[in-house]
């Protein structure tokens, strides 16, 4: 129901504002697309979880409309990515069993690290971060796959090594701790070498959340936050670009034509949006650099206003709440850790980039799941969704309970 309500509100705003600026035919694109996606959600949702599908399709649709409006030349490509993503999701959701994740956890983990290492060695630099890898004609961001591999590894590893009774004791031995810390340390190091701060923050978040989920010990959260804080502090002394990021975050206003340009433009876009927005295609989110990727939330906030922005946040809330609800229903540890860990990716990633774009936390570039333009991002996020749906449909991995 909230989808139709949100959609109706969106349409109302769009129609009123677009009337003044766009030909009649183009006005219909948005509604038609929403309709098509709603139909898709309905059809695909017959055998799958409707709430998850509705939330992601809503996000994808709004994102696509905004991308079409910002960069019409990228719309066809984005549509292709969406189609591929949905295909990947359908395949992944046909998962029969997930025992193999436990068996091949080290392979998955090593594959992730190898991908990151490849990026550092052969990667291309885009927008200050060396985060892209080229295979043939296809470029992608390995870190998108790495975050999935990481969750799979952690789920497999933690479910094996955290003793069931008494709950939450991870034995104090290098054998138990080594691989976790190694993975963590390595990925953070790699990401710092790549200068991809957003991904580093995301991976740290995932590690912390999954350790806490598996052990239930706040100590891990505290330690992790402490070390993350320490790392950030240390990196401000070592890396000039980290220092600038934080300075911009604290005060962008006197650097509006320099380093603070992007965040400044984002705040202007937000301010222009107001409560009900300037109307689809009636605003100027094009002034914000990366408006169709990292800053798509800000573009939506300008054109659809506080209403539109909050409806995006609401969609994420529904997506995450439903995902975690499904995790709660899993009766086996591996299933629980997998589903809740995968949902964590959406939750943390959304908070990091939205928080960064509206100056709640320092800005670190990362895509907004399902909404931003980008093949790697879309396909991976649909893969994650497919895995969640698939794991949800599988029977428990083993008989061990917790």
């Amino acid at each position: 129901m909230w989808v139709s309500l949100g959609g109706a509100a969106l349409l109302g705003i769009a129609v009123v504002n677009v009337t003044l600026h766009r030909p009649l035919l183009e006005m219909l694109y948005g509604p038609l697309l929403l309709l098509a996606f709603a139909l898709g959600a309905f059809l695909l949702g017959q055998k799958r979880d409707k709430v998850l599908l509705a939330a992601t399709f809503f996000l994808t649709t709004v994102g696509f409309i905004e991308i079409y409006r910002l960069k019409p030349e990228l719309a066809a490509k984005q549509l292709l990515w969406i189609a591929l993503g949905i295909l990947v999701m359908l395949i992944a959701s046909a998962l029969r069993s997930y025992r193999w994740i436990e068996r091949y956890k080290y392979l998955l983990g090593t594959a992730g690290l190898a991908l990151l290492a490849c990026t550092i060695l052969f990667g291309r630099e885009v927008g200050g971060a060396k985060a892209w890898l080229r295979v043939g004609i296809w470029q992608f961001e390995p870190v998108e796959i790495v975050k999935v591999l990481l969750v799979l590894f952690l789920a497999g590893y933690l479910q094996e090594n955290v003793s069931a009774k008494p709950f939450g004791k991870l034995p104090l031995s290098w054998a138990a701790w080594g691989p976790v810390l190694l993975m963590w340390g390595l990925s953070i190091l790699l990401l710092f070498l790549q200068r991809d701060l957003g991904a580093a923050l995301l991976l740290t978040g995932i590690f912390t959340a999954m350790l806490y989920l598996a052990t239930g010990q706040g100590l891990f959260v505290g330690t992790s936050i402490f070390f993350t804080g320490l790392t950030v502090l240390a990196s401000t002394f070592i890396f000039a670009h980290v220092r600038t990021r934080i300075a911009i975050w604290l005060n962008p206003w006197d650097k509006l034509s320099g380093n603070g340009y992007q965040i400044g433009q984002a705040l202007f876009a937000l301010a222009a949006g107001g409560f009900s927005g300037r109307g689809l295609a009636a605003g100027d989110p094009g002034f914000v650099p990366a408006a169709h990727t990292d800053f798509i939330f800000v573009a939506i906030a300008e054109e659809l206003g506080l209403l539109g922005a909050v409806s995006i946040l609401a969609a994420f809330l529904f997506l995450v709440a439903r995902g975690w609800q499904l995790a709660m229903e899993k009766n086996d540890r591996l299933g629980f850790l997998l589903v809740s860990g995968l949902v964590c990716i959406f939750a943390i990633q959304a908070l990091i980039i939205i928080g960064g774009a509206i100056k709640v936390i320092p800005l670190t570039g990362i895509t907004l799941p399902f909404v931003s333009y980008g093949g790697s991002s879309l396909i991976t996020n649909y893969l994650i969704l497919g895995l969640i749906l698939g794991i949800n449909n599988c029977r428990p991995a083993d008989q061990r309970d917790y």
């Binding site: 100027d284 922005a309 909050v310 629980f336 917790y402």
Partner: protein, 465 residues
């Protein structure tokens, strides 16, 4: 395990709430403040999509308008520092900046009109701003200044409307980009809007304050005579009359007419410094007019202590006292009408023929006292028979006071402050010409030319040649 997830979910919800609060702050609470920062590129874009309104004088003569996307300035050049300019490099200034809201069509009624215009596929328009100025009179003032450094400003005594304003030298706003370097380095300060920003010692025109004071507190018998030997020694100062001339036995009226320094120093002694300052305050001289464009604040020396001036100096408008021409015009208007009114420039804004808003005086205070009617007669006498003779126009009955203000930059500044017609005043004027010598010789003729122009264009109803 599941408890941990519940806690994480709580944290996530907390995060969402914080994001919504932050959004509300940026989009609603701080929204309009941030949106109007000059760095916001949307503002410039908005302007391009809109036909900027025109600025016109009170009769609808165009001062500036946008033709083919370019701002064209057609008014007299002596208005240039007031009207200001729009330039890519130098930004906006003057009334062009102050009336942005009106000129960019942001008045609610204009927005409604523009919404309708857009529905019919027409370009949105800014409102037209009609000023209180009359270009005919402004041009007359500019001619009378004849390129000398100086200022003319005149207000309608009954309303506070600024009818005439001229500054010299000025510049061509159409060439501000090309001329900027030269203009900003020119020692004659052509960018300075002298009527509002120029600070000058008022000289003898400040005798009005002493006169108002002694009349108000009944410290003088109108027939009382004072002896002027040509000079007076008081509080360590020696103050001389103009050229050391001894005026003999004279009354207040004659003292004003011949601008006798000795008599006014004596009268000021009788008034006392406290009442002198109170008169300054009563006549609104300490209150800077808010005109939306830069206006200098009158420099009244502190009552006592560091930087204060002695009463004899103040009485003859010297010492560290500095005033703006607009402030002296407001003083003259207050003497003429019995009310101190804040002056203003906006007559009305219009969308086509429809009036959207009207300008008005922001504040006013009655100071009407019997004293002023005596003073009006005395000031008429000062023009008819005294130092201000050159200001008198046949049949107009001009009243006023001249001033010759010593200053550290060479010859004295010439002042004339007055109004006309003396029996039923309608226009008050302040004229100052820098380093031009005596007020009676240099400033009074300029005042006459402006008064005559005002008469020719119908501002003195019922006055005939």
């Amino acid at each position: 395990m599941k408890d941990s997830l519940k806690k994480i979910f709580f944290l996530f919800r907390l995060g969402i709430v914080i994001l919504i609060l932050a959004l509300t702050y940026w989009q609603i609470i701080a929204g309009s403040r941030i949106a109007n920062l000059p760095e916001n590129p949307r503002l410039a874009k908005q302007e391009e999509k809109l036909l900027r309104g025109r600025i016109l004088d009170r009769n609808g003569q165009i001062i500036c308008s946008t033709i083919d996307g370019k701002r064209q300035y057609g008014g007299p050049s002596s208005l240039a520092p007031l009207i200001g300019y729009i330039s890519g490099r130098q930004g906006k200034s003057g009334l062009e900046l102050f009336f942005s809201r009106e000129l960019l069509g942001q008045l609610p009624a204009q927005r409604l009109i523009n919404f309708a215009r857009q529905l019919f596929g027409k370009k949105p328009e800014g409102s037209d701003v009609y000023l209180t100025l009359d270009l005919h009179v402004v041009e007359a003032a500019q001619r009378a200044l004849a390129g000398r450094r100086g200022a003319v400003v005149g207000v309608d005594v009954r309303t506070g409307e600024i009818l005439v304003l001229a500054t010299s030298p000025a510049f061509d706003p159409n060439r501000i980009g090309e001329d900027w370097r030269r203009l900003s380095q020119d020692s004659s300060s052509p960018l300075l809007n002298r009527p509002l920003q120029g600070l000058y010692p008022p000289g003898s025109t400040f005798k009005l304050i002493t006169a108002i004071g002694v009349l108000n507190w009944h410290l003088i018998d109108l027939n009382e005579r004072f002896y002027c030997p040509g000079r007076i020694e008081i509080q360590g100062h020696t103050i001389e009359c103009f050229h050391g001339k001894a005026h003999g036995w004279i009354d207040l009226k004659e003292a004003l007419a011949v601008s006798c320094n000795v008599t006014f120093v004596r009268l000021a002694e009788r008034l006392g410094k406290e009442r002198f300052y109170e008169t300054i305050k009563n006549m609104g001289l300490d209150r800077k007019p808010e005109l939306g464009v830069p206006v200098s604040r009158t420099r009244i020396p502190p009552f006592r202590g560091q930087g204060s001036s002695s009463l004899p100096q103040l009485a003859i408008g010297q010492g560290s006292l500095l005033v703006t021409p607009i402030q002296m015009a407001v003083l003259a208007a207050a003497v003429a009408d019995g009310t101190v009114r804040s002056p203003y420039f906006l007559r009305q804004t219009q969308a086509g023929d429809r009036v959207l808003e009207r300008g008005h005086s922001n504040w006013q205070r009655e100071v009407n006292m019997a004293a002023l009617s005596v003073l009006r007669e005395d000031l008429r006498y000062a023009v008819a028979e005294g130092t201000g003779r050159a200001a008198d126009a046949p049949g107009l009955s001009v009243a006023g006071k001249t001033g010759t203000a010593d200053n550290p930059h060479g010859r004295p500044h010439a002042w004339f402050v007055g109004f006309a017609p003396s029996e039923d005043p309608s226009l008050a004027l302040a004229v100052v010409i820098e380093n031009a010598g005596s007020g009676g010789e240099a400033a009074a003729p300029v005042a006459r030319a402006v008064f005559q122009a005002a008469r020719d264009y119908g501002y003195f109803a019922g006055v005939q040649d």
